[in-house]
Amino acid sequence: MSNVAVKASKHARSESRWAYLMVAPTVIGLLVLNIYPFLDTIKLSFSKTLPFGLYELRGLENYIEMFTSPEFWRANLNTLYFCVLTVPLGLFLSLIVAVMLNAKIKGQTAFRAIFFLPMVVAPAAVAMVWKWMFNTEYGIINTILMNKVNWITDPNIVMVTCAIVAIWSAIGYDAVLLLSGLQNISKSYYEAASLDGATKLQQFFYITLPMVSPTLFVVMIMRLMSSLKVYDLIYMLVEEANPALSKAQSLMYLFYRESFVTGNRGLGSSVVIWTVALIGLVTAVQFWGQKKWVNYEV
């Protein structure tokens, strides 16, 4: 009896050693590339940074400067506005695309590939092409509309423009995730429902939506996080010389400008820490809210 126990523990020990070895590359990578820089950022957010990696600890100075700066609050508003524009509409459209891709149609695989394509293209390339299409004087969109809308330079429109491009880029990826959720729904529910005389619309609301809600929840969290962190798209679409910059500047864009244009990495770091806190808060609220609408029963 005892013999067996010793053997088992020996075995377990060697197995756990292997396990540690296997996770080591990931853990080391995380420590070096994520955890250490994150701790460093926290330190920097309490410091005044000088060139060449030098810094002086200055306590809360950066945070005080940040919270009293109108530019910072403007960036918060811009970021939230961007989320409001992209997340609900993006999710809605992704779900519709997913449902349509789930239907039995000819060339289903081809359609799935087409919708997924924007995800494969580099964001910088996407932004460049859209920028040309949105050009006031020579762009194809204004040519079709026979109008002269300042898509990129009008402070009131610029965020809508960014949102259009963001939604376009994200639909394919989100739809593929949702599609995998849809395919897990057993056909028998629909058969039973149609026998009972439920319409397609009723089937969508009473079967599809509740059954896909766990996937929808995951997609929503991811989409909201990436919207709060939006940077590359706005950077590519809205240049330094754009008069609408202040109405398009997101939190991460503000971080970039403070850290790399002005060279004030301390203040830039506080903006990052604030954004991390904001994302944490929003995600916590979502996890609390999911109890009300996400259905985990099969």
Partner: protein, 430 residues
């Protein structure tokens, strides 16, 4: 168990091998291998030719030219400076030189020529060129590489269509506006495209009018001076004319793009872009030419002429392991021979005085010969590009205020006060 050890050792060995490979100046062929970092791919061949000329005479040295794009160059160089792994030789720009010099990251090269010719710098380089290589302490932290000026680029066909004479050295601001109006009336195309840029825009106008962006002390701004304000107002108001696109237009279409797609007749361009534009727009050859900047008709002080002149230099780290060899290479880069090779490659106008013609001659290769002499003529009244060590802090603020004036979000007077404050705040923050 043995197997396990082997597996654990493997990554360590790999890491060690990588580390060894990383600092591979330890040469197997007994030569000294130097790296030379630049940001302009168009100048790679010229730089390589210059290095080859040196290594032909010094077979024990090898120099490798590496190109990093402008956008990554400074991030990389700063990271290299922090970890003491800077390239052996690199280009330095006036935007950054004060920072690097003041923090001791680039070597003081003031006495580079002391053994051979103590007055070498002053003898062969202009005052503006030497100001561009100085640290805040007035010592030389680089060997002058090139110098540049800003000129007026114009579309000949549009001038012909409107029946207006081409710009020449007699032109004033009034002629610029008048010609723009006539071209707009006759062709419907834009005239002079005045966009919100400093070096290729309002700085030139301010100095022509006798104003300044930075006062003599190099710290206080000049935005409170009447001469500066008058020139700024003139320049900013140009966008109110029908013949000039507004800042919204420029946010989407740069003046260069508009010019070479034949949407506008004139814009300000630096001489460093001209060769590339000749090569990139072969269909436009013969349709455009260059002229000196128009002068201010009634300057508050001075002659009414100015153009902003900037210049790069070659620099090295004071911690370099082969500092003596590197200094010898730099001495060659600053020599007449080194500068001549650079000029003949068409890369840029050599900083070395008397070699300007080498750059001009490069344009003989084209069927249509641009009047590039004008860029060299303007050195007679060129003004050093505006710079102090706080520039990276105030420049974004000043640009932002300029945009607000353009969009009407801020009045002109408030804008000028704001710019003046931005310069003051940047200096005080230090």
């Amino acid at each position: 168990m043995k197997k396990l050890k082997k597996v654990a050792v493997l990554p360590a060995v790999c890491a060690a091998a990588l580390a060894l490979g990383g600092c591979g100046t330890g040469s197997a062929d007994g030569k000294t291998h130097l790296t030379f970092q630049i940001w302009d791919v168009a100048q790679r061949d010229g730089m390589q030719m210059m290095c080859d000329a040196y290594t032909a005479e010094h077979p024990d040295v090898e120099i490798e030219v590496q190109v990093t794009s402008w956008s990554e160059y400074w991030t990389k160089l700063e990271a290299a400076a922090i970890s003491n792994q800077m390239p052996d030789i690199f280009w330095m720009h006036t935007n950054e030189i004060l920072k690097y010099a003041d923090y001791g990251k680039i070597a003081d090269l003031t006495d580079l020529y002391d053994e051979t010719d103590p007055g070498y710098y002053e003898e062969h380089f202009s005052e503006v060129s030497l100001m561009n290589v100085q640290g805040s302490d007035g010592r030389y932290y680089g060997v002058p590489k090139d110098k540049d000026t800003v000129g007026l680029v114009y579309n000949k066909e549009m001038f012909d269509a409107a029946g207006v004479a081409y710009p020449d050295e007699t032109w004033t601001w009034d002629d610029l506006c008048e010609a723009s109006q006539k071209i707009y009336d006759a062709t419907g195309k834009y005239g002079y495209m005045a966009y919100g840029d400093d070096q290729l825009g309002y700085w030139n106008f301010v100095y022509q009018n006798g104003g300044c962006i930075l006062k003599e002390d190099g710290v206080t701004g000049g935005f409170d001076e009447q001469a500066t304000q008058d020139a700024m107002r003139f320049y900013i108001d140009l966008q109110k004319e029908d013949w000039c696109p507004d800042q919204n237009y420029f946010a989407e279409t740069s003046p260069g793009t508009a010019f070479f797609s034949e949407q506008g007749a004139m814009f300000l361009e630096g001489n460093w872009n001209i060769l590339a534009e000749m090569n990139n727009y072969p269909n436009m050859e013969g349709k455009w030419d260059v002229a000196v900047l128009p002068m201010c008709p009634d300057p508050a002080s001075g002659e009414g002429r100015a153009t902003i002149s900037n210049g790069l230099c070659y620099a090295t780290s004071p911690a370099n392991k082969n500092l003596d060899i590197v200094k010898d290479v730099l001495r060659f880069f600053g020599s007449e021979e080194g500068q001549r090779i650079q000029g003949e490659s068409g890369a840029a106008i050599p900083a070395y005085e008397g070699l300007e013609q080498t750059w001009i001659d490069v344009f003989d290769q084209f069927d249509y010969r641009l009047n590039v002499e004008c860029f060299v003529d303007m050195f007679d009244y060129s003004v050093q590009s505006v710079n102090n060590k706080y520039r990276s802090v105030w420049k974004p603020d000043v640009s932002e205020i300029l945009l607000k004036i353009y969009s009407g979000e801020m009045s002109f007077e408030d804008g000028m006060a704001g710019m003046q404050n931005a310069l003051k705040a940047a200096a005080e923050e230090d």
